[in-house]
């Protein structure tokens, strides 16, 4: 085991995968010589050569389109979209091509690519460096959607994604790159190095795609969440003293319904928490799944705590971001109902 930040864990996963399989190629904007604006690919070009890790032109559709062609040839491209907010130009290639290729060709061609996407807010990045578009991809059949919340999972899930025979959208909550962040922006930042989940296995063990983890066990209410919000949930639980079970979904598609159902049937209450805008967000899917499977177990209406249905603001960031206070109030409400 080694102490790693999430950035180091992601870099290490690349390193392991590239060492094990020379079909793994890594590219994207600024990822080559410089190692990425978040440094997640630093050192890879030096170690594996320009043929294995290189800079690309600034064209997200081109990056994904080229990766699809490479995958059709037989390589395993792992590509970076610099910010989730910049994945939209690639939307057609992802939805109409990557997601469909296996099905439409009856596996004559397949598309084992990994699209790494720094996501989420909390960095004063305003509306084009803070968005959380995961729901848009969860709606698209043929894609897998993964979002780790800590270095251990980041490494294991990235290795699993690279090994996966199908396209994976791998969201990296950038606010967690250097340490867990619980939404208290005015408190000192904690580092992963001191956190138990910052202790990462050095080998190439995977974390299975499609399996949630129970971040905190509890009996009174289930919090379904992922990414940065795991730590916000934790803070809210501490602050309210409510014995909530925090489920870190880790994979949004395919979803781990079993774990969700077991938890909600145990607690009888459920809060859904994400950074993304509310309407038609992934939280709606979670509410629906619980409603369909746990109707007779529910003791109170479920509640969504989410980003508001507005563009992500710059100055009002901490009024937009679902901070522990908002989550705590929602928890109290659910317990009262």
């Amino acid at each position: 085991m080694a102490e790693m930040t999430m950035i180091e864990a992601i870099r290490d996963a690349h390193d392991q995968a590239m060492a094990a399989d020379d079909k793994v190629v890594v590219f994207g904007e600024d990822v080559g010589f410089f190692g990425g604006v978040f440094r997640c690919t630093a050192g890879l070009q030096e170690k594996y050569g320009k043929n294995r890790c290189f800079d690309s032109p600034i064209n997200e559709s081109g990056i994904v389109g080229a990766a699809i062609g490479m995958a059709a040839y037989g390589l395993k491209p792992v590509i970076e979209i610099q910010f989730a907010d910049y994945i939209y130009p690639a939307f057609d290639q992802i939805v109409s091509e990557a997601a469909r290729l296996r099905h439409r060709s009856n596996a004559d061609f397949t598309c084992p690519i990994v699209i790494r996407v720094p996501t989420g807010g909390g960095i004063f990045g305003g509306q084009t460096h803070s968005q959380s578009p995961e729901a848009l991809f969860a709606h698209v059949s043929g894609l897998k959607v993964v979002m780790p919340s800590n270095p251990q999972d980041a490494k294991g899930l990235l290795l699993a994604s690279i090994a996966d025979p199908d396209p994976v959208i791998f969201f990296e909550p950038k606010r967690l790159y250097n340490g867990p962040f619980n939404g208290h922006h005015d408190r000192p930042v904690e580092s992963w190095k001191k956190h138990p989940l910052g202790s990462v296995s050095e080998g190439n063990e995977i974390v299975e795609i499609g399996k949630a983890s129970i971040y905190r066990e509890g009996n009174d209410v289930t919090i379904l969440t992922y990414g940065t919000m795991v730590y916000v949930a934790e803070a809210a639980v501490k602050e309210t003293g409510i014995d909530a079970e925090i489920v870190d979904l880790r994979t949004l598609s395919p979803i781990d319904l079993e774990t969700i159902v077991a938890s909600v049937q145990k607690t009888g209450r459920c809060l859904v928490l994400h950074e993304a805008t509310r309407t038609a967000g992934f939280g709606a899917e979670l509410i629906s799944l619980v409603q369909e499977t746990c109707f007779y177990h529910l003791e109170a209406p479920m509640v969504r705590v989410t980003g508001w249905d507005t563009p992500y603001p710059h100055a009002q960031e901490w009024n937009y971001f679902p901070v522990p206070k908002r989550v705590g109030e929602a928890l109290l409400k659910i317990m009262e109902d």
């Binding site: 081109g62 080229a66 062609g69 490479m70 390589l75 009856n106 061609f109 897998k144 319904l257 079993e258």
Partner: protein
């Protein structure tokens, strides 16, 4: 609009609309044999003029002339004839099958047969095409089974794509034919990516991108050009300029200035135009570009100048937007007629033999059709199972799809 004070917008119009007399006299057609053939390692800047000319081999008397005339044997030429006639017969039968309700949709190649058939001849096993819906000649000239194509068109029990795709959206990896997408332009950059992978792997296989004149306007055309210019992978980028994109003429995609080929110049990519209705010219140009790619000289952009003589698809009636006579007036003629004339000219063919050959080929197509129909046609009840719809979304079916499949009763 408010009263004109100043400017006005240029909105291009085709030369002729229904009721007008087609007039191609503005269309500058160089003499066959007049364009020089440069070495494959030519500096792109030295052949800029080729983007404004047209490589042509067959002259009006059916002779093969000039530096681009290849040493094709009579057998090669007859094979080319067989491929083009097969494609035309195939189209005829499938157009009819669609009208008979045996399938939902079809797209034909009328007048454009030389482009895909001749190009295929320059490729090797292992090379990969990223075609549009109008290059079935790549399959036919690659000797892909006609019955299998028809099975796909019929979505029948033997459809290799198990009913998932609309008719003609073939996929044939073993035949160097990438799965066709319904979305225009997307496959152009994928072709570049495939070629990048080949070069990264130290391989010598090449890929071939295909796009229509109208679709060059799509943004992925640019992605392909940028990546091709930056990484110089072994790819041939074909533009099939058949003058029309459904109801819009090619001027809507380029404003009537320059040529589509000239788009290569901004990227340092050698670009040329070829007479797309001249089997020999298409083959020669394809071979040149393929050799460039295979020998590490990078991408080539080729504009095939041809004409979409039929409707866009079975859903389209072109008489609503262009003169019926335009197709006859098209100055580059019909690719099959022109190859026939050449074969006769060199003493390897006759009108009678051609008729007989046509009949034989139609016979083969009919046989293939009979066989395909024995496995069912769309809606005949012999189609693939609803189960097939749930399979293959992912390699392994995830739990929610298993649940949905069960919910659907399969």
């Amino acid at each position: 609009m408010t009263e004109k004070k100043g400017l006005s917008l240029n909105i291009p119009e085709p030369g002729c609309r229904p009721g007008d007399n087609p007039d191609f006299s503005d269309f500058d057609i160089p003499r066959a044999g007049s364009v020089k053939r440069p070495p494959i390692d030519v500096d792109p800047d030295e052949i800029r003029d080729m983007a404004f000319s047209i490589v042509r081999v067959l002259n009006k008397d059916g002779e093969a002339v000039g530096e681009w005339a290849e040493d094709l044997t009579e057998e090669d030429l007859r094979e080319g004839m067989r491929h083009m006639l097969t494609l035309r017969a195939f189209d005829t039968r499938m157009m009819m099958a669609q009208r008979q309700g045996k399938t939902s949709f079809y797209m034909q190649h009328l007048g454009e047969e030389a482009v895909s058939c001749a190009f295929r001849k320059a490729l090797r096993e292992g090379d990969m095409n990223f075609p549009t819906y109008r290059q079935a000649g790549l399959l036919i000239a690659g000797e892909y089974p006609l019955t299998t194509m028809m099975n796909q068109i019929y979505s029948n029990a033997k459809d290799p794509l198990v009913g998932r795709q609309m008719p003609i959206m073939y996929s044939a990896n073993d035949y160097g034919f990438f799965s066709i997408s319904g979305n225009l332009g997307t496959q152009y950059i994928q072709a570049v990516g495939w070629a990048m992978a080949s070069a990264l792997s130290g391989d010598d296989k090449i890929s071939v991108g295909w796009i229509g004149d109208g679709s060059t306007a799509e943004s992925d055309f640019h992605a392909a050009m940028v990546f091709a210019s930056t990484y110089r992978p072994p790819v041939v980028l074909n533009i099939v300029n058949n003058q029309w994109a459904i109801s819009t003429f090619q001027g809507i995609a380029r404003g009537g200035v320059g040529t589509f080929a000239a788009r290569g110049h901004g990227f340092g990519i050698p670009a040329l135009r070829v007479d797309g209705n001249d089997y020999l010219a298409v083959f020669a140009v394809a071979k040149w570009a393929a050799e460039r790619a295979r020998n590490g000289h990078g991408p080539t952009l080729i504009e095939h100048v041809t004409y979409r003589a039929g409707g866009h698809s079975t859903s389209d009636d072109p008489s609503a937007y262009r003169a019926k006579e335009e197709s006859q007036a098209w100055p580059l003629g019909d690719p099959i007629e022109r190859l026939k004339q050449h074969l006769i000219k060199i003493g390897a063919w006759s009108e009678d033999r051609h008729k007989q050959f046509e009949a034989e080929i139609m016979d083969d197509v009919l046989k293939a059709q009979k066989e395909a129909e024995s496995h069912g046609t769309l809606g005949s009840g012999q189609g693939p199972s609803p189960r097939d719809m749930f399979e293959g979304v992912y390699e392994k079916m995830p739990p929610h799809l298993v649940r949905q499949r069960q919910e659907a009763g399969y």
